[in-house]
C-alpha cells in the first residue's frame, strides 16, 4: 500500500485540529473542508489547504459524501480521516472512499455494518465467548418465552423495543406479573408505531459503571488493547468526565477484559482504532455492549497513560503497516482525567449556548493538555455538536491529576457563552468521586446540580466586592471623561483610560 502524502479531514472543530497536528508531525499535507458557518474556524486556518463544502446545515456540508469525495479527488488526497460523529461510522462513506481509490482511515464497510447492528453484533460476540448482558438473543414474540428468559436473567429486567433509541421504548419490569402486563402494552405500542412487535429483554443492571477498552488492529490481523477508560460520569447518557485507569480495574482484570476486547475486535475482523464498550456491575462482572467503530472523543487520556499517539497509529495502520508494538510492550503510566467542556448552560437545564467568544483563557502548566477549537474572537456555531474543548490533566496518580484538573478548571475562562465548567468544578471536589465510588447515575444520585448552584452562590459572595468596585470604577470613568471632554474640547481625547 502506498504511503499517505495528502490527507483530507472530513470533520471540524477540535478533532479536525487534532488530525491536522498528526499530519504535520508526519509531514503529510493536510486538507480541511468547511461549511459557511465555519469559514473562520480553526481547522480552516491551520490546514495546508481548505475547501468549501456548502451551507451550515450538516446535511448540506459535513454529511455530503459526494462533495467530500469530489474535493478529495480534485485536491489529490490519498486518504480521508472522518474524525468522530458526522460520517465516521457511515459504511456507505467508507465504501465510496474505497471505490474511488481513497484510503478511509477506519474500519471496512462490512465491519461497520456488523458493529452498527446491535442484535447481530451480540450474536457474533456470543459465538466468540465475549460476555454480553444477560437477556434474549433476539426479538421475543411470545410472552411465555419472555417469562422464561426473564427468569433466567433474574429480575429486574428491561423490556426494550428494537426500534427504540435514546431511552425511548424502554420499560423496567420487576416481576413476572409486571412483565405480563407490560409485554402486552409494549407490544401494542410497538405495533402501532412500527407495524411490528420487536421486543427484546435485557437484565437491568444497577449501580453500573461504563468502562471501555481502546483497541487497535492492523491489516495483518494484529490486535492490541490500550487499556481501559472509565466513563461513568454521564448526564443523560452523554459522557462528561472520563479517566484512565479506572479505579476499579486492577492489573489482572485489565489483562482479562482487555483480552476479551481484542477477541471482540477479531470476531468482527476489525481494522484500525476502535473501542469496545462494557458495563461493569458492582460484583465486577463485565458485559459487552457495543464496538464504536471510530476514534473516540476521549482518546487523549489513553494517549497520555500509554504514551501512544492514536491518530498517528491510525494513519500508519491505514497505510498497511503492522503495529510496531506487542501487547506486553504497552505500559500504563500514571493517571489521566478528561473533562468535556460543552457550550451548554448547566444552570439552565444544559441548554445550548452559542455565539461569539470575544476572549478566552486556555489553561496550561504541568500535566495539562487542552484539545479545543476555541481562540479569542472565534464563533461557537449552533449547527454542530456542543463540545468546544477537552480539558485533560495527567498526574503520577489519580489525585495529582485531579488537583491539576481543579486548578486548570479555575484557569479556564470563556467569555460570551455558558459552558459546563461549573459542573466539573463541583464534580472534581466530590468526596465519592475522589474515592472512585462512581456510577452512571452519579449526577442525579448525588444532587450535583444543587451542589453546583450552591457553589455558584459562594462564588458570587467571594466576587461581590470586586464586581461592585468595577461598577463604581465605570461610573467614575464616565464622570471623568465627561468632565475632561467639557474642559479639553480642543485637546486630545482621553479615550482608553482616565489616568
Amino acid at each position: 500500500m502506498p504511503k499517505i502524502s495528502s490527507l483530507l479531514i472530513a470533520n471540524r472543530g477540535e478533532i479536525a485540529l487534532r488530525v491536522i497536528r498528526a499530519c504535520k508531525e508526519l509531514g503529510i499535507r493536510s486538507i480541511s473542508v468547511y461549511s459557511d458557518d465555519d469559514n473562520r474556524s480553526i481547522h480552516v486556518k491551520r490546514a495546508d489547504e481548505t475547501y468549501r463544502l456548502g451551507p451550515p446545515q450538516a446535511a448540506e456540508s459535513y454529511l455530503r459524501i459526494d462533495k467530500i469525495i469530489e474535493i478529495a479527488k480534485s485536491s489529490g488526497a490519498d486518504a480521508i480521516h472522518p474524525g468522530y460523529g458526522f460520517l465516521s461510522e457511515n459504511e456507505v462513506f467508507s465504501d465510496e472512499c474505497k471505490k474511488n481509490g481513497i484510503i478511509f482511515i477506519g474500519p471496512t464497510a462490512r465491519t461497520m455494518e456488523l458493529a452498527g447492528d446491535k442484535m447481530k453484533c451480540k450474536e457474533i460476540m456470543k459465538k466468540a465467548d465475549v460476555p454480553t448482558a444477560p437477556g434474549s438473543d433476539g426479538v421475543v414474540d411470545d410472552i411465555e418465552l419472555a417469562v422464561e428468559i426473564a427468569k433466567e436473567a433474574v429480575y429486574p429486567v428491561m423490556l426494550k423495543s428494537a426500534f427504540g433509541g435514546g431511552g425511548r421504548g424502554i420499560r423496567l419490569v420487576n416481576n413476572e406479573k409486571e412483565l405480563r402486563q407490560e409485554f402486552e402494552l409494549a407490544s401494542n405500542e410497538s405495533q402501532a408505531a412500527f407495524g411490528k412487535s420487536a421486543l427484546f429483554i435485557e437484565k437491568y443492571l444497577t449501580n453500573i459503571r461504563h468502562i471501555e477498552f481502546q483497541l487497535i488492529r492492523d491489516s495483518s490481523g494484529n490486535g492490541r488493547h490500550l487499556f481501559e477508560r472509565e466513563c461513568s460520569i454521564q448526564r443523560r447518557h452523554q459522557k462528561l468526565i472520563e479517566m484512565s485507569p479506572s479505579p476499579v480495574v486492577n492489573k489482572e482484570r485489565r489483562e482479562k477484559v482487555g483480552e476479551i476486547a481484542v477477541r471482540a475486535s477479531t470476531a468482527l475482523d476489525y481494522l484500525n482504532a476502535g473501542t469496545a464498550e462494557f458495563l461493569a456491575d458492582a460484583e465486577g462482572n463485565f458485559y459487552f455492549i457495543e464496538i464504536n467503530a471510530r476514534l473516540q472523543v476521549e482518546h487523549p487520556i489513553t494517549e497520555i497513560v500509554t504514551g501512544k499517539d492514536l491518530v498517528k497509529l491510525q494513519i500508519h495502520v491505514a497505510q498497511g503497516e503492522e503495529l510496531p508494538f506487542k501487547q506486553q510492550d504497552i505500559e500504563l503510566k500514571g493517571s489521566a482525567i478528561e473533562c468535556r467542556i460543552n457550550s451548554e448552560d448547566p444552570f439552565y437545564d444544559f441548554a445550548p449556548s452559542v455565539g461569539y467568544v470575544p476572549n478566552c483563557n486556555i489553561p496550561s502548566g504541568p500535566g495539562v493538555r487542552v484539545d479545543t477549537y476555541l481562540y479569542p474572537g472565534c464563533n461557537v456555531s449552533g449547527y454542530y455538536d456542543s463540545l468546544i474543548a477537552k480539558l485533560i490533566t495527567y498526574g503520577g496518580d489519580f489525585n495529582e491529576a485531579r488537583i491539576r484538573m481543579k486548578n486548570a478548571l479555575s484557569e479556564f475562562t470563556i467569555e460570551g457563552i455558558n459552558t459546563t465548567i461549573p459542573i466539573h468544578k463541583t464534580m472534581i471536589e466530590e468526596s465519592n468521586f475522589i474515592n472512585g465510588n462512581i456510577s452512571t447515575d452519579y449526577i442525579e444520585k448525588n444532587n450535583i446540580i444543587e451542589k453546583m448552584k450552591h457553589k455558584r452562590d459562594q462564588e458570587y459572595k467571594d466576587k461581590a466586592y470586586a464586581a461592585i468596585s468595577g461598577i463604581l470604577l465605570q461610573s467614575e470613568f464616565v464622570k471623568k471623561s465627561y468632565l475632561a471632554h467639557r474642559i479639553n474640547k480642543s485637546k486630545e481625547s482621553t479615550d482608553g483610560g482616565f489616568y
Binding site: A351, G382, E415, A466, I471, S481
Partner: protein, 170 residues
C-alpha cells in the same frame, strides 16, 4: 450606593471615597476600607488589585438598574439601588414597559419542533412556550413571567435565530 447580588437579599453598601488620580483609589464597602490599584481601564473593562487580589472585570451590556458583570471567568448580575432607580422602576412599571418584558425571545438559534401554547392561553413563569432543536438537543423556551399569550410568532418546522421573538404575552 446600595447594591444587591442576584439571588441574594443582602444589600451591599459601597462608595468611592477618593481617587488620587495615579490609579490609587479608596473604596468603603460594607463599612470596611479597601485600597484599589487600577492597572488598566477602557470604557467597560477594568483590571485592578483590590486588597491584595488581582481581578479582571468587564461590564457587559446592562440596563440602567441591573448590571451584568463578567468577573474572573464567571458572570454576576448586580442590581443597583438608589432613589433614582426606584423612581425609574416605578414609572416603567406603571407604564407597563418594564424591560420589554412582554417578548419571549429565543436565546439560541434552532428549529422549532413543537409549539406548546395557543393564542389566549394563560401561562405561568417557567411554562414551555416552544421546543427548539439545536446542537442535536431539544430545548424548551420557557416564559419568564406569568401572563396570557397574545401572539405566537413561529410555526412548527420554522427556524429561529438568536434573540428572535417567539411569542408575545400580555
Amino acid at each position: 450606593m446600595e447594591f444587591q447580588i442576584e439571588g441574594n437579599n443582602n444589600k451591599i453598601n459601597a462608595e468611592l471615597i477618593y481617587n488620587r488620580g495615579s490609579g490609587d483609589l479608596l473604596f468603603v464597602i460594607d463599612d470596611q476600607k479597601y485600597n484599589l490599584k487600577l492597572l488598566k481601564s477602557t470604557s467597560n473593562e477594568f483590571e485592578f488589585i483590590l486588597g491584595n487580589t488581582y481581578h479582571y472585570v468587564k461590564i457587559l451590556p446592562s440596563t440602567e438598574t441591573k448590571y451584568k458583570i463578567f468577573i474572573d471567568g464567571i458572570i454576576i448580575e448586580i442590581k443597583k439601588h438608589s432613589k433614582i432607580t426606584e423612581i425609574i422602576e416605578k414609572t416603567l412599571k406603571s407604564k407597563g414597559i418594564a424591560n420589554q418584558a412582554n417578548n419571549i425571545t429565543s436565546q439560541i438559534p434552532g428549529r422549532v419542533v413543537k409549539v406548546s401554547v395557543s393564542n389566549g392561553d394563560k401561562i405561568k413563569e417557567g411554562d414551555p412556550i416552544v421546543v427548539l432543536e439545536s446542537m442535536k438537543m431539544q430545548i424548551a423556551i420557557k416564559s419568564h413571567k406569568d401572563g396570557t399569550i397574545r401572539t405566537i410568532k413561529v410555526k412548527e418546522g420554522s427556524t429561529v435565530s438568536r434573540n428572535e421573538i417567539v411569542a408575545i404575552i400580555d
